[in-house]
Assembly symmetry: C2
Homo-oligomer: 462 residues x 2
């Protein structure tokens, strides 16, 4: 195989029916989706061309990272960067760092790291917020806050807290330690930038949170950690240009993934398991899970993304996958190159039964486990997809990011839902505002209280 | 409420039917499960009394931790401990550490930590294995290996590698840096202990991997980190003694959880979402996911555990939960006390719209978000359970561990599956052995290869 970015093997995506009543997914049913996929593809291109709200991610690979690189240069003198953001403003940052940097990056020396230590404050959990502050020297710390609207409660609560700490410790110099990423024009954080003169970057207004990792939201911390953001963008652009030339369910990885996942959803499989065989891609599944769930889970539709990790979940979830209900589509992700590390032989006679491991590469073992698990699931009639990438580097990761954003958007249009909105989270926000006593939300407070009290109408304890 | 360990609110577990054809879960259907639950409870007590294979976890709360404490004392002089184990031999260790220690434990000074740094080598990912070794000084490092059988490929590959590194650096002193946890009598690792005279602890032979966190498997690293393992066991024992006195679906948290989850599985909801509102319990969901999936996912049955975290997943999965298919049972976990941390007011006029946050406790905000999300899901007709714990400490964590082990075992017997076996992982192991060239598995190698080749019969790439 000569693929440079990725390859999808989908020969095992069409198992024979296992329950009598189920629709069967066949190569023919995939082909029949081609008109819908073409319409979806053209819609995405049109939206991106016209600068429509939500479609901006499609244009990100060609945007210049110059502003991000300049900002990273300014922050590089700090020992610590606290990135404050949640959901689309944190999952991509964590994903890029996990995939491309040393797993114990913060524990390395400055010289080994090549950049500031990185802390991500996503949740509004007071213990984590305090713990992050425990770890940093205030004078050597910058706080980056990312929120397009400036209204995200968790993010703003953390930002208020860290900013107050900075003010207490640094006084007048505190504004130099803050960088704000927000909408170019609108929102309280943009006004805050105008008022304080702190550093800032723009989140393009036509890019939604979960599609924003290749915007400054995801790129700044990556650049600070020494990740080559130009390579990320170049990989995404290569994937985009390649996919734009593939307009069939036989040639386009994106059409294949979007089509097959749509068909298995319709055939009664409510889950999609993403299972990379590399610790470095563990957080990629978290990033994908948000993209998939929030884009497609609406109107009573949507499949649930299940985050797995090989080989660890062979010792946790694979029993269920192999012998439980046939209610999942499995997507393996396997890198075809790994660090060379040989399992050394032992002279201990007690360990002789392990001699099959002696001298073998640990990476080869992991590859064998991935293939063995895929073969087991496929052999038991479960639908299996196998995505192989030549390596886990910035180019391939950028390509994967674009691939899955495109697949998700395609699947949304084919399934008849808007892949760029998230109306279902508004109710919870209003309830929270109400319970927090925010002006104008007292009716929500009453309704939330009434609904919540139902939970306690039956109770047991110890 | 005066509960000391935990309380389950289940008033919102019985929503009206949302799809015409579905079975409806009612308080009456829960009551009707009582004979099955009683039979399951008695079976568990009988098995534990008779020392039957798999039932040993039920007796762990009353086992003395003396051997664990003595071993921890011996290892406490090290700066680093590398714990080698996977699945049931790692998830509990990570869970206890996350729940009860500082989130950046390894980044603290020795004095702040109070014990050695802890690294868990679970996956056989060569990059992680190498990265762990990057972080330690060989002379100050102990390697702990946990495998009941001594045959777990990932664990033994890592053990062989780390042991070889120790030998290279420490020579004759290397055996003093190794502690083995394995079966008291059987297996290659027990023979290895006899041959080398290295330190060892016993994994009770009647305790299965996923039920072993309150055995030495989970307790040694906890003790090394300064967690009070006697409190963990005491909490588990309190929960056990309390539950043994509750033999109804109105009084027993365990019967309620096992019964309701069984009913919703039968009613066509294939997923159970565990969503704690505390970063410290994030890894508890990973531990639970193994326990649940591997115990109940067999014979075509079993629901899929979905790991979520509040409030982070409000910005990732809640759109799907609120507006996607009604195919999940939701289990919130909320601590009723948190670290006090006030969100400071800001004088910036630009941030005036955030004044509803000023002076509020960040923990209160998180509590409001949990209640708001539960109210939203419940209000939209989804089944919701609410588990509240007074605090996240060793006593309550031990209690929660026992509660969920007991719930899982009860659910298994009620659903007619053996909650203590895992036959579905054998095929994958044989395929792996075959592909690794292990003697006696060449037929498996051929079968695995044939099945795997099916995946590649259709392919697309870039």
């Amino acid at each position: 195989m000569t693929e440079n970015l990725a390859r999808i093997d989908y020969g095992a995506a069409f198992p024979p029916p296992s329950h009598g009543s189920e629709a069967v997914v066949t190569p023919e049913s995939l082909s029949r989706l081609e008109p819908d996929l073409l319409r979806a593809a053209l819609r995405i291109e049109e939206g991106a061309r016209n600068g429509e709200n939500g479609f901006g991610w499609f244009n990100l690979p060609e945007r210049s990272p110059a502003a991000v690189l300049a900002a990273a240069e300014k922050l590089s003198r700090f020992d610590n960067v606290i990135h404050v953001g949640i959901g689309g403003s944190s999952l991509g940052n964590i994903m890029l760092s996990s995939a491309l940097k040393h797993p114990f990056y913060n524990g390395l020396s400055r010289q080994e790291r090549g950049g500031p230590r990185l802390f991500v404050a996503d949740n509004a959990d007071p213990e984590t917020t305090r713990a992050i502050w425990d770890m940093v020297d205030p004078a050597g710390t910058a706080v980056v806050v990312a929120s397009k609207s400036g209204a995200t409660a968790e993010t703003m609560a953390n930002f208020l807290w860290f900013r107050d700490r900075l003010k207490t410790s640094s006084g007048d110099k505190a504004p130099e330690q803050v960088l704000v990423m927000t909408d170019p024009e609108k929102g309280v954080l943009r006004q805050f930038v105008r008022d304080t003169g702190c550093l800032s970057l723009e989140i393009p207004s036509d890019v939604g949170g979960r599609y924003s990792v290749l915007s400054p939201v995801g790129l700044l911390t990556a650049a600070l950690q020494g990740i080559d953001v130009s390579e990320l963008l170049d990989g995404a652009s290569q994937m985009k240009q390649g996919l734009l030339k593939c307009r069939s369910t036989e040639t386009s990885m994106a059409w294949i993934l979007a089509g097959i996942s749509t068909l298995h959803a319709a055939a009664g499989r409510p889950m999609i398991v993403m299972m990379p065989y590399s610790d470095r891609l563990c957080d990629f599944t978290e990033w994908f899970a948000q993209l998939w769930a929030e884009s497609l889970g609406k109107n009573g539709k949507g499949t649930t993304p299940v985050r797995a990790l090989g080989a660890v979940d062979q010792h946790s979830q694979v029993q269920l996958y192999a012998e439980g209900p046939d209610d999942k589509l499995y997507l393996f992700i396997a890198p075809s190159s790994r660090e060379a590390l040989a399992i050394p032989p032992s002279k201990d006679p007690s360990l002789a039964s392990l001699s099959y491991l002696y001298g073998k590469s640990m990476g080869t073992m992991l590859d064998c486990e991935a293939a063995a698990t895929a073969a087991t699931l496929s052999g038991s009639g479960k639908p299996v997809l196998w995505l192989e990438i030549p390596a886990i580097d910035a180019t391939r990761l950028g390509a994967l990011v674009f691939l899955f954003e495109y697949v998700t958007a395609l699947a949304g249009f084919v399934q008849g839902v808007d892949p760029f909105d998230q109306p279902g989270v508004e109710q919870g926000k209003k309830f929270t505002y109400g319970m927090m006593g925010r002006e104008g939300f007292s009716a929500d407070a009453r309704e939330a209280g009434a609904r919540f009290r139902v939970l306690g109408e039956r109770s047991a304890g110890l």
